[in-house]
Subunit: 192 residues, 2 copies
């Protein structure tokens, strides 16, 4: 049984927590107004918060997060224009987070999944698939196993550099949903 | 009935030609060894060639392609390392092609589809979906209609800037296939 702390209590936080709980793991949530005061007890910490909150969390918890697997789920979109990302071209939110947390093993995951498809475990009749990128093989394998234990599919999407591509997918999927070309219960599926 | 010229005779060229032919349109192919000599008779010209061939085609056909819809299907991947794109960060092959063909309406499409899924018209039980990005609304709408006439789904993925994101999806999908995490008959599907 793994011990997981999820910062955040929104739809994504709840959906991700539900997956791990279903896999039989110990899941604790930290509310955003508890950031900096609540201890992070889990070996895996999921930052289920908007991109803008990452820097403050890294600052508040840098020492506690050292040695832990830290999961970044964000889509660093300019939500005013829906026409650009707010990270530098070629970079990613996950790369920025890894730079801010040099002692942690940062993994990118869940940003290509809508919350509803995490809860339903299927999208368009295909198993919901979580794409996971990271440089630490053990951390990545741990997260992939946790996701699969909850009944979803997971793929190794490569090194943390691939977070750029995962964030591109998340960006495009959000624009398709906002443009009502796909529903929030649909979007990208992975066919095997 | 539309008139379409496809440069290239590979798997993607044949699959794309098959879609348009099934839609009742006039499809002509130009072999790569005919580039520069064969006339481009179609109103829509699909460059079904590797990224490295785009610059030479643009140079050879700049005047003939003026006023036409030009479809870029490439994934500008470093095929030696499978770890990077060969276009500048934040840019895209399609943006480069548009710059090289200022009189043409460049549209990005088909680069997120494997040839087998274009032929089968389905991927994982879902309709194969072509994502189309471009700045010229009429050109984009023409291509979307052509794809749908051949029995596939198509979505407007936004302005030509979104070609960056489409190429990121194509890149990631290729790495998943080469890593045998998805088959060449599978990959990304779009659930509605």
């Amino acid at each position: 049984m793994a011990s997981i702390t999820i910062i955040g209590t929104g739809a994504m936080a709840n959906a991700i927590g539900g997956i791990f709980a279903e896999g039989g793991h110990d899941v604790a949530h930290v509310r955003r107004d508890e950031v900096g005061t609540a201890p992070l007890t889990g070996d895996v910490v999921v930052l289920a918060v908007p991109y803008a909150a990452l820097a403050g969390i890294a600052e508040a918890y840098r020492e506690q997060l050292a040695g832990k697997t830290v999961v970044d789920i964000t889509n660093p979109l300019d939500f005013e224009t829906f026409d650009a990302l707010v990270v530098p071209a070629g970079s990613s939110a996950a790369a920025e987070l890894q730079a801010a947390l040099p002692g942690s093993q940062v993994v990118k995951a869940f940003n290509t999944n809508f919350a509803a498809t995490l809860g339903a475990k299927e999208v368009g009749g295909l198993p919901t698939t979580v794409l996971v990128a990271g440089d630490d093989a053990a951390a990545k394998e741990t997260l992939i196993s946790l996701v699969r234990s909850g009944g979803l599919a997971a793929h190794d999407a490569g090194p943390l550099d691939r977070a750029h591509e995962l964030e591109a997918i998340g960006f495009l999927q959000l624009t398709l949903a906002v443009g009502e070309q796909v529903p929030w219960t649909g979007g990208f599926a992975v066919a095997r």
